[in-house]
Amino acid sequence: MLPTPIIIALLVGIAVVVLGFFGAGTLTAHTVGRLVLLVAVVALPLLLSAGNLSYGIHQSSTTRFCLSCHEMQRHGKSLFADDKQALAAAHYQNRLVDRETVCYACHKDYALFGDVTAKLNGLRHVWAHYVSGPPAKLALYRPYPNSNCLHCHDDSRRFVEAAPHRPLLAALYAGSTSCLSCHRVAHDMAKVDADQLWQAR
């Protein structure tokens, strides 16, 4: 359920529209009444819809939303895998990304239409969840792009000065060498299946 203020706002909006519906006969007779109808039937509902849609889009980027489909729950569990090298676990456990939006932080593109692409892919996920069924093995739609890693690591000192990175920097920036060619484990499913998990006390 969305937060109570949103529910209340929508209920108020519906009540105002209902009042407009039953009061239309009287309100259309006066200029002020017509303005009231404009607010009741057009302005307020549009404002509420925009707010609701905006909040919904924000919510759809949260970790909780991604993991609300059972297909993703093993991946969610991999955030707690006891493996300091696994990318998802390392980023989550060390708070390198906001835990509230951890899936979205790493799996959306950061270009101009990154959010749009992510949301369209989300529609494909929902279609797979409800209609076509998920594939036997979950996989990315395309190879993981370095640009998603570099969005954060780009010029960070720890990344640039790391000895293994130095000879590869140009290739990493160009995307000709994948970050994942060395950082091979993104989600440590073996640890998940073995129930070897880590959580701060």
Partner: protein, 70 residues
């Protein structure tokens, strides 16, 4: 035959029905929040509200035209 104000009232009520339906869809999604209901709210609820707003503005436009104000 209905006079101009009755026709205007009927059109406004039709717009209010469509808008109200859109808000109801959004309310339903907000109460039972899942990926599917979010998409239903975005794909049906919001367009219904937009359609209701369009119907209202069309009703106003027809009323203005009928009065010869434009």
């Amino acid at each position: 035959m209905r006079d101009g104000r009755e026709a205007m009232t009927a059109r406004v009520r039709r717009a209010a029905r469509v808008t109200g339906l859109g808000l109801l869809v959004q309310l339903g999604a907000a109460v039972h929040w899942t990926p599917a209901t979010f998409i239903a709210a975005a794909a049906f609820g919001t367009p219904l509200v937009l359609a209701g707003a369009g119907l209202f503005l069309a009703a106003v436009w027809r009323n203005i035209k009928a009065k010869g104000a434009v």
